[in-house]
């Protein structure tokens, strides 16, 4: 298979589609103003080709902040795209769509991946989707788009998750998750007084979550928001750590960018040597895949901001391009199998 990346900083879909022929799966990364028009035009240009889309920034060797980006797979994939609706309440109502698409695409854990663009309620959506994917051991990666809208097969949806099932006909696929943080101290907290609907974290080990965070890091209420770049929370799940960003202070609690549940075990994280960690990811991918057709990634908006502030974003894209054809988009949350995480990078590598 092959990967195509086209973009237009001024939002011209035609410009972005130049050079794309006979795509087998298309991903549209558009802007808030032109999203509907881009979705319709794309469907018109490539009718019947499975496609998903969302509002967000895309990248290859540079960032497309407000224009349009097209990432497409061709020459050797089998794909299907669809959408689960009403995701804020009951995405499972549409689960048969996914099951039927799974049947249609076939595939297994080795050669098939599910890519999703979600408009919200991510944890519930991922739980729901993964009940189907896990039966075949198929991995998922994706992210949250902006403005609560996604598209699938030429139609725009609100309160929905658009997914694509892509089967590599000529090799393996594998997903990765990159965490540039490590544990700070040996703090270990059990979350309680949470509000899962509003992503509120009330207490840590029975004490005010805000106060615990402030006491450990010696920061003011105002500093908490920017401090999340350096010190987000980590939710332990076995040997894995899912990063949770802090959104804002909510009374004595903290509002996060991800659902926190009572009995979640949290730790405090601190920023590691991200350049070295990126190099390690690249090394690992090269080791796992000596021959790579394409790499599609989702980078968190916070990572994009952090890397940009540190003047590293361009170097990062250059480093990743050393892997081969690399493209992706900047998400508001990242998806890895049934895990919804923040401040991370997830990617899928096609052999």
């Amino acid at each position: 298979m092959k990967q195509f990346f086209g973009m237009s900083q001024r939002g011209s879909l035609d410009e972005a589609l130049q050079g794309l022929h006979q795509p087998q799966f298309i991903m549209l990364l558009s802007n808030n103003d032109q999203f509907e028009a881009h979705v319709a035009a794309l469907e018109k240009r490539f009718p019947g080709v499975p496609s998903i889309g969302c509002i967000g920034m895309s990248y290859q060797t540079g960032i497309v902040e407000k224009g349009v980006g097209i990432i497409a797979f061709y020459d050797g994939v089998t794909a299907a795209a669809n959408v689960l609706e009403q995701i804020s309440k009951m995405p499972v109502r549409y689960i048969q769509r996914l099951e039927q698409d799974m049947q249609a695409v076939g595939g297994s854990s080795n050669d098939t991946v599910c890519i999703d663009f979600c408009s919200g309620n991510d944890a519930c959506v991922l739980t729901t989707i993964y009940t189907v994917l896990s039966k075949r051991g198929i991995s998922l990666m994706g992210g949250t788009g902006d403005q609560g809208r996604v598209s699938a097969n030429g139609r725009v949806y609100q309160d929905a998750v658009a997914y694509g099932l892509i089967r590599n006909q000529n090799g393996r696929v594998k997903t990765y998750k990159e965490n540039i943080y490590h544990q700070l101290g040996d703090y270990r907290f059990i979350a309680s007084d949470t509000d899962r609907a509003n992503y509120i974290l009330g207490s840590l080990n029975g004490k005010s979550a805000k106060q615990v965070y402030k006491d450990i890091l010696h920061v003011t209420d105002e500093e908490i928001l920017t401090r999340t770049f350096q010190n987000p929370f980590g939710k332990l799940n076995g040997d894995d750590t899912c990063i949770i960003s802090i959104k804002e202070v909510h009374g004595n609690a903290l509002a996060c960018f991800r659902q926190v549940n009572d009995s979640d075990v949290l730790i405090l994280l601190e920023l590691g040597d991200y350049q070295a960690i990126v190099q390690e990811t690249i090394r690992q991918i090269k080791q796992d895949f000596p021959r790579r057709s394409a790499i599609f990634s989702v980078n968190c908006l916070f990572r994009y901001k952090l890397f940009s502030e540190h003047g590293y974003m361009q170097s990062y894209l250059r480093d990743m391009s050393a892997l081969g054809n690399h493209a992706g988009f900047v998400g508001y949350g990242e998806h890895y199998n049934n895990r919804f995480v923040n401040q991370s990078m997830t990617c899928v590598v096609f052999e």
Binding site: Q86, K89, M90, P91, V92, R93, A123, C124, T127, T128, T131, R188, I190, S192, R196, N205, K235, L236, N237, G238, D239, Q259, N261, D262, S263, D264, V265, N338, R339
Partner: protein
């Protein structure tokens, strides 16, 4: 009865069409899930506290082991000191041995001196005998001189009787008499010298006696010193025995300490095993937490599904 039955039948039909029981089950499951989460929070908290306690125990164990190590080091130091004591004892023994060697040499020297004294005593006896012989010879010489003098006097008398013819004889007799007087005088001088020699010999004899007495005393002192050395050696051997006993006690103590440390090592291994299990249980707890979230995510979709099915907003 029939009416009531009919009413019940109608009601049952309505119930069969309703998905309320599913909703009820979902609500119940949700309540159970919430309760389960509360229990899990409590369990994790308890597990965390157990983990903290065991971490504390491990820290205390490490502290205790450090103390045991210090104690072991102290025993080693004692053993080392006892070893040094042994070295000192060895040095004392060697010094005593050397001193004893020198004492033996001194004793031999004393013996040689004693022999020399004996030889000198014998020589002195011979000297005394020779002096007596000289004195006897002098007595004879004096007697001969006196007889010669008498003879000279007699010759003078005879010469005087002879008159002029005996005058020259009288001269000879006078010279003989003078000679006899000189011999007597010389013999007296010799006797004086011999007496002087005898007196000095007696003094020498006295000095030799004194020296021999001193030598005897020195020999006696050497003898007693030898006894002292033997006592020192004996005491040193006793100290060696004490040192060996100390070393034995230290060795036993070290063995017991080693056993104690092994015991604590085993306890520490057990503690670490417990901590490992607590860690595993804790990790399992975190996966359960993710499963609770999944369960909650799925169960929470049932009520809106039912409402949707029933056509309710």
């Amino acid at each position: 009865m029939l009416f009531r039955k009919n009413k019940q039948s109608g009601s049952q039909v309505q119930e069969e069409k309703s998905l309320y029981p599913v909703l009820h089950v979902a609500d119940s499951l949700k309540a159970y899930q919430r309760e389960l989460v509360k229990k899990e929070v409590a369990s994790l908290g308890e597990l965390s506290r157990v983990g903290d306690s065991f971490s504390g125990v491990l820290k205390e164990g490490d502290h205790f082991q450090a103390k045991l190590q210090d104690l072991g080091d102290s025993f080693s130091n004692i053993s080392k000191t006892a070893g040094q004591f042994g070295e000192v004892r060895g040095e004392i023994g060697q010094s005593v041995s050397e001193a004893r060697g020198q004492m033996v040499a001194l004793e031999e020297t004393f013996t040689q001196v004693q022999k020399s004294y004996d030889a000198m005593t014998e020589t002195f006896s011979n000297l005394e005998a020779a002096i007596k012989e000289i004195q006897q010879s002098l007595g004879k010489i004096v007697s001969i001189a006196e007889q010669t003098n008498i003879l000279a006097i007699n010759a003078s008398i005879e010469a005087a009787r002879a008159g002029a013819e005996g005058r020259s004889f009288a001269v000879v007799a006078a010279q003989v008499k003078e000679l006899a007087g000189e011999i007597k005088e010389l013999a007296g001088e010799v006797e004086g010298s011999v007496t002087d020699v005898e007196t000095r010999a007696n003094q020498l004899n006295q000095n030799m006696g004194d020296s021999q007495q001193s030598l005897d005393q020195s020999t006696s002192i050497v003898s007693r010193t030898e006894e002292s050395f033997e006592k020192i050696i004996a005491v040193s051997e006793g100290a060696m025995s004490v040192q060996n006993e100390i070393a034995g006690v230290i060795s036993v103590s070290q063995q017991e300490l080693s056993a104690l440390r092994q015991f604590f090592d085993r306890i520490k291994d057990q503690y670490q095993e417990v901590v490992k299990h607590i860690g595993s249980a804790s990790r399992l707890g975190t996966t359960k937490s993710a499963m609770f979230e999944d369960m909650d995510n799925m169960i929470s979709q049932i009520p809106p599904l039912i409402k949707d099915f029933e056509g309710k907003p």
